[in-house]
């Protein structure tokens, strides 16, 4: 697939935004500015960038507890995102949701999700809705290897295939569900093989190669938009950080330092950068300039969040119901 320079650079920009954003979160979390749980995506950026790079703004995604990357790639604004992580009223969820629940209906972001496997049926519903409404929108659904053991995975694949719904099942196989490595939580290596059971195409792909991700998703999207039904794509990847910030020594209870180092050598961003430089699509300096721009944007987001107010206490009672007259 021949891609334009802009497209290639946009992959770089997206991945680097995710990376630098999350590095900053890691730092802020350690200082207590970001409360709660922060599940970082560092190391897996190619999946989000490649998948969302193949979607239109009006397409849908459902995300997971590890969702910052997905929503940034789908176009979320760093300022309300940062504000949400800070628990401020200017955040995407008015401070009610936090890291695990970023949503932006205007961007087709149907929400990050605290329930492993919770997003799959919702993506099926969004695809079904597109079909009912007669649009050619598609829904991409991110979920982990761990979540693929939830019953919702099976029910969702079956439903989507049965009704030929425009859904792309994006499995991010990072080898672990918290501390449980894949070998211990399922008897298969390739989750994509399960596609056969539901009569849909399934492929195993390198989740650290954004171009490979992109190409596979473009195909799946084409299939979905033309009414041929869903696709299951499995991307092998790896999270560099612990399950969440605070997981002792980035998960030393269940994995080795060597394993982490090996995967860090396959950094998806460095891989793309090297390619861009060797193919003379961009110079190191040009990439550095992009990095500086991103850093400035993140600084601005932090500033925005810091300056924003916390919600007023009575706001706790707002939005429990969709119409205020339901509230007591």
């Amino acid at each position: 697939m021949k891609l334009s320079k802009e497209k290639l650079l946009s992959f770089y920009r997206t991945m680097q935004t995710i990376r630098l954003f999350e590095n900053r979160i890691s730092d802020l979390y350690a200082r207590g500015t970001v409360p709660g749980l922060a599940h970082l995506y560092i190391g897996e950026e190619a999946v989000a960038a490649g998948v969302c790079g193949a979607l239109r703004p009006d397409d849908f995604i459902t995300s997971t507890h590890r969702g910052h990357g997905h929503v940034i790639a789908k176009g979320a604004d760093l300022k309300p995102m940062m504000a949400e992580l800070f628990g401020r009223r200017t955040g995407y969820c008015k401070g009610k949701g936090g890291s695990m629940h970023i949503a932006d209906m205007n961007m087709g972001i149907l929400g990050a999700n605290g329930i492993a496997g919770g997003g799959l049926p919702i993506a099926v519903g969004a695809g079904w809705s597109a079909k009912w409404r007669g649009t050619d929108q598609v829904a991409a659904c991110f979920f982990g290897d761990g979540a693929s053991n939830n019953g919702t995975f099976h029910e969702s694949l079956n439903l989507a295939s049965l009704h030929k719904l425009p859904v792309i099942f994006v499995c991010e196989n990072n080898k672990y569900g918290i501390s449980v490595c894949q070998l211990k939580h399922q008897p298969i290596i390739d989750i994509a093989t399960r596609a056969t059971s539901y009569d849909m195409p399934g492929s195993v792909l390198d989740g650290n190669d954004v171009l490979e991700v992109y190409e596979a998703v473009v195909k799946a999207v084409r299939r979905a938009r033309t009414g041929e039904g869903p696709t299951l794509l499995e991307f092998k990847t790896y999270r560099w950080r612990g399950h969440h910030e605070g997981d002792p020594n980035q998960g030393e209870r269940y994995r080795t330092k060597e394993e982490i180092t090996q995967w860090m050598e396959k950094c998806p961003i460095q891989r793309l950068a090297a390619k861009l430089v060797t193919k003379k699509i961009a110079s190191r300096q040009a990439l550095d300039a992009i990095d500086r721009e991103i850093t400035t944007a993140i600084d601005a987001a932090v500033e925005f969040a810091t300056q924003s107010e916390f919600p007023a206490l009575e706001e706790m009672y707002e939005d429990v119901y969709a119409s205020e007259d339901m509230a007591k």
Partner: protein, 326 residues
């Protein structure tokens, strides 16, 4: 006796049960090398092996249902659900299967299993990881619901839960895991349905659950300085519920505050209030008050979450309100 934490006490109870009875197996997510998200199963996999301490896939309906099946056929599974919030994905297994079988099959077949869950907000984990809807299980006939507030109770109740032939929802509390208390080394059982009067008093009965027992005791100390004599009752199990101790106390004090962390509507506190209204209303010198969580999901933002939660101060305020009916 020595001082240990609530999670150590639970860990000890599990170790005792597994040592005494080879039918006891543990299932749950990340309970092996990780030791459980709150370290309750720490080192048990090393000690008893991965066959008896099983890290499960994220398949709650599957492994809770499997626990039911195993219990029905001679095992005694103790199964951990990481947060009470995730019991929702296996409610069928809990409410339609685990709770119903013994009755539905006319008394044939037992389900001697324990489902360990935890409740409590305060960790910034928002609406899907902070809930306290333990009252739901109290509502379902056939389930026992334990709710320990101290390390001592945690150990005694968990051992009882494992040895008990009924399905038990064992509700732990996130904020209690690191609290400390005196716990005997040996095995002991705390029978279900026996509340403990954690402090005697004659003016106000505070019926508190879980972490709020501790808040109630603190509030009682402070009220005592104003000459208000507070009695604190800890039900220890919500099902069966020790109505006698409750009623006896209300008859004595004539004033009742119920403190529970579930949402106010249809929660433990509503039930306890109704019991008193039915059985002892003529003794009441003041309205029954409830201190519960607001009827909203748990908000993420720290100031909101803080105001969602309550403790000693709120309880004390309510105690004073009751004493306006002196």
């Amino acid at each position: 006796m020595r001082e240990i934490t609530y999670s150590q006490a639970l860990n000890e109870a599990l170790r005792i049960c597994m040592t005494e009875d080879e039918r006891v197996v543990l299932l749950g997510e990340d309970i092996g090398c990780y030791g459980g998200i709150f370290q309750v199963t720490k080192d048990l996999q090393t000690e008893f092996g991965p066959d008896r301490v099983v890290d499960t896939p994220i398949s709650e309906a599957g492994f809770v249902g499997a626990s039911v099946g195993a219990a029905l056929t001679g095992m005694r599974p103790v199964t951990e659900i990481m947060f009470i919030d995730f019991t929702t994905v296996c409610m069928d297994m809990i409410i339609n299967q685990m709770a119903k079988m013994h009755y539905m099959f006319g008394g044939k077949g037992k389900v001697p299993m324990v489902l360990r869950v935890n409740i409590g907000a305060g960790r910034g984990t928002a609406a899907q990881h902070s809930q306290s809807f333990h009252s739901i299980f109290m509502h379902v006939p056939g389930l026992c619901v334990a709710a320990p507030s101290t390390p001592y109770d945690a150990k005694g109740l968990l051992i009882e839960a494992v040895k008990n032939d009924n399905p038990v929802i064992f509700v732990e509390h996130k904020r209690l895991y690191n609290t400390r208390g005196m716990v005997p080394e040996e095995s002991y059982r705390i029978p279900f349905g026996r509340a403990e009067v954690k402090r005697t008093g004659k003016d106000v009965t505070v019926f508190a659950t879980h972490a709020l027992v501790l808040s109630a005791l603190e509030a009682a100390e402070e009220a005592a300085r104003d000459g208000i004599d507070v009695e604190v009752i800890d039900p220890r199990t919500l099902a069966p519920l020790d109505k006698d101790t409750l009623i006896a106390s209300v008859k004595k004090t004539g004033r009742l505050l119920v403190a529970d962390e579930d949402n106010k509507t249809c929660g433990v506190a509503a039930e306890v209030s109704a019991i008193v209204a039915e059985d002892a209303i003529e003794y009441l010198k003041a309205p029954i008050l409830r201190n519960c969580s607001p009827d909203t999901p748990v908000p993420f933002s720290p100031p909101l979450e803080k105001s969602f939660m309550f403790g000693k101060d709120r309880l004390l305020e309510s105690v004073r309100r009751l004493m306006a009916y002196a």
